[in-house]
């Protein structure tokens, strides 16, 4: 039972990174991509129909984490306290700035633009650091309570992940703009995506090689996820080369989901580890009666959601043009 719900949680979490990753990427690339206000609105408008839907995958994932694995939730957020706080500060700034930036036609927008760029950057860094720590093992006290040691959260390995995530999301954002951005800017988006390929590949190689030495208690899943990551990178790179930008976008989305997949499967059934401490999925899980309640609500909601979001994608799969409704 716990394994099934762990997979559902994995689906939501991976879905969040696959989708919201390009939101943050487009946010960070915004000032470098196009400076004219009209084009900038079209760039943001490319995200438009997907933005709200993408961001709430996180809300759903954390809700399910609380409902299905309350004893993991209580350990993991408090254990990485400072990183979760910076993540939320970044996320709040980014989400609010996106939604409020373009609400008045005649207003100045510099502060909101700064909020989008800065918020996206802090969000990407914090996610990288957070997941890097999860993969490495959170610095907790031996009984699983927070150690309160802030500096331990910023280990070199985690810092590598923080920077890696910035490159990864930028790369994903560029791939997204190649598909959905204004048609006349596709070339620029592709050049950006090519430019970010090298840092992303470097991150992949170093994180994997370093991980082989730095991590212990790892199961075979880790190697499999690393394999998927390299394959996804290759697919995306080939997609860019062959001008099949949708293929490139899907590849980059799969790659963005890989770190979360890795953190969830690396030591399964242990789902949270620290030096001298491990929490298994069974220990983290809620009671069987509560799972039974969740089983009534979660599958229908997820089904409706996947169908509706798929239809949204179908309806807005072409690049933004003169007729597009921008909103953001």
């Amino acid at each position: 039972m716990a394994t099934f719900w762990w997979c559902v949680l994995g689906l939501l979490t991976c879905g969040y990174f696959a989708l919201a990753g390009y939101d943050y990427g487009v946010g960070m690339l915004l000032p470098g991509f196009e400076s004219g206000e009209r084009r900038r609105r079209q760039t943001l408008g490319a995200l438009g129909p997907f933005f709200l839907a993408n961001e709430v995958w996180l809300v759903a994932a954390v809700g399910l984490l609380f409902g299905a694995f309350p004893h993991l939730e209580e350990k993991v957020f408090a254990g990485a306290y400072v990183l979760v706080v910076t993540l939320l500060l970044g996320l709040t700034t980014f989400t609010a700035s996106m939604q409020l930036r373009s609400r008045r036609p005649d207003a100045r927008r510099g502060a909101w633009t700064a909020g989008i760029v800065g918020g996206a950057l802090v969000t990407a860094l914090s996610w990288g650091l957070f997941l890097g720590n999860l993969v490495l093992g959170l610095p907790l006290s031996p009984d699983g309570s927070p150690s309160g040691d802030v500096l331990a959260l910023f280990s070199p390995y985690a810092a590598l992940w923080g920077l890696g995530f910035v490159a990864l999301f930028c790369w994903q954002g560029a791939a997204f703009l190649a598909v959905r951005g204004p048609a006349e800017l596709t070339g620029r988006a592709v050049r950006l995506a090519r430019a970010f390929s090298a840092p992303v590949f470097t991150f992949l190689v170093i994180a994997t090689a370093w991980g082989v030495f730095a991590l212990d208690g790892v199961r075979g899943f880790g190697a499999a996820v690393a394999g998927v990551a390299f394959a996804a990178f290759a697919v995306a790179r080939l997609g860019l080369a062959a001008r099949r930008y949708r293929v490139a976008l899907v590849g980059s989305m799969v790659l963005s989901a890989c770190p979360a997949l890795l953190a969830g499967t690396l030591r399964f059934p242990a789902v949270l580890t620290a030096p001298g401490y491990a929490l298994t999925a069974g220990q983290a899980a809620t009671a069987p009666e509560t799972f039974a309640v969740l089983a009534w609500f979660a599958p229908p909601a997820l089904l409706v959601l996947l169908v509706v979001q798929w239809l949204t994608w179908r309806a807005h799969r072409r690049p933004v043009d003169q007729r597009s409704l921008l909103h953001f």
């Binding site: 839907a53 309350p70 209580e74 408090a78 989400t95 409020l100 373009s102 006290s141 509560t290 007729r323």
Partner: protein, 386 residues
């Protein structure tokens, strides 16, 4: 330094911000849905412009509802880890359902509604705004259900130091929920009504040329405020009876007295205003009484103040318990150093204050600008549907 007061203050601040935004969200979306329904049923073009104008204000307000909600959701795991450890097996379920069934779907449907303006068939687009409304109400139901469980932990028993779920259905019939949910929903409707009436009154004071537009808006707002305030007052007093069964001493507490008195006073004041407004609907007197318009603009904040007071009564009256009679607030706080909690409290409070002020200024400016002219041609690219 003691972390407990900082952590409590932080949760109270986040929740207050969240409450201020979701209250207007709930009330306003209902009114927008009614406007769009009347237009779809063959109403005048004015009704479509009303849907767009009030819908635009709704979307601006919604933005901060989301972000404060996300921070609240994380805060359980950041600071109140004892709650998950003790009651997570029961309390987690309504929160998970709220995010999956309500919040997740609400945002998806709202996105479709915003981007469906003029693109989707009329009836489908109307269905979307009602789905947004229903999922918003479902959100309120599950959050109030979770809160009511903290007030009165029914349907569960303590086993081996943690709470176990016996009967999920009992959470729906919780006496702490049955009267308070309609009370809160009524308050949301009053908030939406007062907001629409107040903004319309401002335009009448400025001698707007959009007389028909704001007359219709004001009439709808007055009716909503009346319907809502009947609910609020009625269900407010109904709670006194229910309270006796699960928290008999709550209203006798000294911290509760002042906010309770002020809330009841404000409630009756708003009820009387709504009745007066309804009487003045005869021959549209309400749109011509200029001296009343000043009062209507000034009254926009009243429902917000009353709601925060009501929330203080409910939550302060629960102390020192987090889960009534079962888990003390002091025992639920995480083992995080007080300095880190203080840092996050200051950072979030400053950020929320800045964003809230920016949001309200934006709301006021867009409200003051009024609806787009009726004959405006659609510009290309199409900047926004609402």
């Amino acid at each position: 330094m003691n972390a407990l007061p900082v952590a409590r203050l932080q949760f109270a601040t986040t929740t207050s911000f969240h409450f201020l935004f979701v209250l207007l969200t709930l009330g306003l979306v209902t009114l927008v849905a009614v406007m769009q329904t009347r237009w779809t049923l063959g109403g005048k073009p004015e009704l479509l412009r009303m849907t767009r104008f009030w819908g635009r204000l709704y979307v601006i307000n919604y933005a901060l509802g989301i972000v404060t909600g996300i921070v609240m959701e994380f805060q359980f795991g950041l600071t109140w880890t004892g709650l998950s450890a003790f009651a997570g097996d029961v309390f987690g379920a309504p929160l998970a359902i709220e995010t999956l069934v309500a919040f997740f779907l609400e945002s998806t449907f709202l996105g479709l509604w915003i981007f469906g303006f003029g693109r989707l068939p009329r009836w489908l687009h109307l269905t979307l705004i009602w789905l947004v409304t229903l999922t918003a109400y479902a959100s309120a139901l599950f959050i109030m259900l979770a809160n009511s469980f903290l007030q009165n932990p029914v349907g569960s028993h303590v086993e081996g130091g943690t709470l176990r779920l016996d009967d999920f259905g009992a959470l729906f019939t919780n006496p702490a929920l049955v009267a308070s949910l309609p009370h809160v929903l009524g308050a949301a409707l009053v908030t939406g009504g007062f907001f629409v009436v107040g903004v319309s009154a401002w335009h009448f004071l400025k001698r707007t040329t959009e007389v028909e537009f704001f007359r219709r808006s004001m009439r709808l707002g007055v009716v909503a405020a009346l319907a809502g305030s009947i609910f609020v007052v009625n269900q407010g007093f109904a709670q006194f009876g229910e309270l006796k069964t699960y928290q008999p001493d709550k209203l006798g507490m000294s911290v509760v007295g002042a906010p309770l008195g002020a809330m009841i006073g404000l409630g009756f004041l708003m009820f009387l205003c709504s009745i007066a407004g309804t009487v003045l609907l005869i021959r549209n007197w309400v749109t011509r009484a200029r001296f009343l318009h000043y009062l209507m603009v000034a009254a926009i904040p009243l429902p917000f103040v009353a709601a925060i007071l009501g929330w203080l009564v409910r939550e302060l009256g629960r102390q020192p318990w987090l889960v009534w009679g079962k888990l003390r607030t002091a025992d639920a706080i995480a083992d995080v150093p007080a300095g880190q909690i203080l840092f996050s409290f200051i950072a979030f409070s400053l950020l929320f204050a800045a964003l809230a002020v920016a949001d309200w200024v934006l709301l006021a400016r867009v409200a003051k600008r009024g609806p787009d002219p009726a004959e405006a041609a659609a510009e290309l690219p199409v900047l926004s549907g609402v």
